[in-house]
Symmetry: C2
Subunit: 515 residues, 2 copies
Amino acid sequence: MGKERSEKERGGGEQNKRNLFVSSVVMNSCAAELKLLLTALLVVCSIATLFQILPSRFTISASDLRFCISRISTSNTSIASLNSTPTSTPTMPPSPSPPSIRKDQVADNGVIKRVFNPYGSAAYNFITMGAYRGGPNTFAIIGLASKPLHVYSKPTYQCEWVPQSSSASNSTFSTVAYKMLPDWGYGHVYTVVVVNCTFSEAVNSENSGGKLFLEASTSGGGDKDFNITDRFEVLNESPGDINTTLFSSKPKYDYLYCGSSLYGGLSPQRVREWIAYHVRLFGERSHFVIHDAGGVHEEVLEVLKPWMELGYVTLQDIKEQERFDGYYHNQFMVVNDCLHRYKFMTKWMFFFDVDEYIHVPQKNTIKSVLDSLSDYTQFTIEQMPMNNKLCLSADYGRYYRKWGFEKLVYKDVKRGIRRDRKYAIQPRNVFATGVHMSQNVAGKTTHKTEGMIRYFHYHGTIAQRREPCRNLLNVTEINFENNPYVLDTTMRDLAWSVKKFENQMIGPKLKNTRQ
Amino acid sequence: MGKERSEKERGGGEQNKRNLFVSSVVMNSCAAELKLLLTALLVVCSIATLFQILPSRFTISASDLRFCISRISTSNTSIASLNSTPTSTPTMPPSPSPPSIRKDQVADNGVIKRVFNPYGSAAYNFITMGAYRGGPNTFAIIGLASKPLHVYSKPTYQCEWVPQSSSASNSTFSTVAYKMLPDWGYGHVYTVVVVNCTFSEAVNSENSGGKLFLEASTSGGGDKDFNITDRFEVLNESPGDINTTLFSSKPKYDYLYCGSSLYGGLSPQRVREWIAYHVRLFGERSHFVIHDAGGVHEEVLEVLKPWMELGYVTLQDIKEQERFDGYYHNQFMVVNDCLHRYKFMTKWMFFFDVDEYIHVPQKNTIKSVLDSLSDYTQFTIEQMPMNNKLCLSADYGRYYRKWGFEKLVYKDVKRGIRRDRKYAIQPRNVFATGVHMSQNVAGKTTHKTEGMIRYFHYHGTIAQRREPCRNLLNVTEINFENNPYVLDTTMRDLAWSVKKFENQMIGPKLKNTRQ
């Protein structure tokens, strides 16, 4: 019934050529293939029924079926004729005859055996962001998984390597994977999972290519009757792809910045200042990976472009992750993807935000400090919180031309407050990472970095498009809004040389950047 | 690859006739239908692709596809040959060629456009337990839905009535449904939903039959790109099925008990005592609906059987709900199903547990009390907490033959403690219900029932198979484990007449029941 009705309605509503085209294609293809189609789908279900008597170890992949669904894309092309028929929502694509609903049954002893009929799907089992080789026999897969699955059940993961050629020395082999949940307690519909697959022997050692598959099992999480396993390709190595010297050779960069998800109406001027400052700080052997979750709008892209062209910045467009409701634009997934993607590209990897400025006190350089910390896999960095509206009377009349870290010079010195720390790691020894530190590291972590390295934090300045200076002061100490502040011109004193550095590197092209 | 391998392995492992039969059927049907099948599934996906250019209002039902999956049942028939091939888990049923994984792309400006590939399903969208007519134009559908869907998104429900005959006066019509979440904050993977569908006019008023469909939309909960709507039949009325006088006539029963989910190793003797006591209390125009979530084992069934045969007890086997991880054996779903299923069968409906005994103080009867409360849609009932191990010295040597409410005579009289209340309702004015009271009622609720009706609570006695008496006392007051108790023989004094009543009703057949 539903089928014929909706075809008729579609035919009756032809109002433009595109609609006509769609309708006739659909009708022709439906008319021609319908019989074939229903027959074949009946066969599928019959075969499925046959497999009822196969053993329970036998698992079924829902992902292939779902793929048909996921190809129904987000296209918003509107066809008016369909919208005019609200009482009969067509269910497409043409499906097999509707499922015969299981009914309650009354047993001989009068007991009513109730049945529960499940429909549809409310969450994916797994969503991949990236999969990376971590050595001759190990891989990391970064993605999202259904959160209640991990809270109330114990989903398991297994990896399988399938060689491209089928020569005898290259057999398929599997390993049970180790899962890490770096945002534990934070996810929404989805939570972040880092799957570590370490095989007992080298994989693709002949460099003849192959594929890594992840098998993600629900362990009965959504339905205790089924341990549904979805198996899907996560990595494809072509012959000659891998370069094992990578894992032991000196990395391309000394310092790589992994940014968290950027979103909202970011200030182009603040981003301009931040990148110029940090390229100068970290120097030639540094790189910055920026993740655009919607925050890199046209004007922000303008200030990044010159540095992208010089090779200092890589911009990752991660807007698609917004489809999946995790914590804070899935920032925990993003930093873990960055960790594994660039693991062998850098000696040190930094995790902090674009309203934060790393600073090494004088007499030291970033190199001398990090060399002294090279025994540690991880160190954390103390925060210098800066007020985001107190400026200097000396800047009166021209503060709007000053840079943010130049004019915001009052440091919060309230004691006894636990302040967030940021951190850096030597990524080759890290398996998963967080936002404020990593809990999955091999090797030592130190927090004793006071006096060696710290960061100035200009909270609330990056997502604001108007002038931050609100109060102009000419004092060295002040109690403002019940908080003690002192004048600290450390960053202000660097502004001139950062501006000069920017001009040397990319010229004056950003001079008209707006707040 | 996967396909041919697994067939070969299956063929090679033929060890018994059943196995052989399965293998050959699978192989023949696969060989014959494979080409047809793959072709047809390609057509499905092609049609799906075509619908990319249809408007976004256009929704897709995943439930039909999932049906193929859910028919892969829990059968544990074991076929050894398959278990011996751990490295190649077959993914069945034969699926269309594997999805071409979408790959990251590098844009002209150097930006890396990351893609996120989702797989599988971790939870159903909706699971039905029951759907009931609530009047000429209204229905209630009771089920479970994915909890994060309701916490982080706003799934919507719509109902559609499709008449059986297609005469002009009987057209299909729809209504937006009102959803109630009676266990809000308690669910796990799933949360309980009561969907109220009230149409603007009478439905099936000619009594010519039809079907009620529920359309459950995810509103982008698991994937913001898709508002997936699952549409499924929830109620089927055959011609002549409905009796509209039911809604206004005097109900069959005065008192109906809706029990919560029973599970665990319940004491048959305690259940025997409970049912005899309450049949006597509520009398001939009463009925008891017991929900077996696994607690009604063989011995418990024995003590219920005589009362089932007399028509006092209906046993609902709800063990299947254990498949779906909600709160406490999905008790909130169960009581709501009971409410709507028996809504027109009874004047009053009671919700309490099988370790609780309703009591009406002397000079009143259950009828006189409830008549005096008939202006209220709902009233709650005060608890008398009874100690579950203090007994009387007088029972020394024969306490094991006494009934539970006969020998447990010490009442907890600690003041200032908020104790759970239980409740009763006039169900025709109630739309959804909880465990301790209902929050979706029309009409008044009263809690001022002290002295009129109360319940004795023998906590911790029902799921214990050994003798409860642990301490024998001959005092009228005692402080035990830092709690004050007083002797209260109200229930003890009724034991003799309850035993006599049981014997009159069903004879001595339960006299050998064990604790």
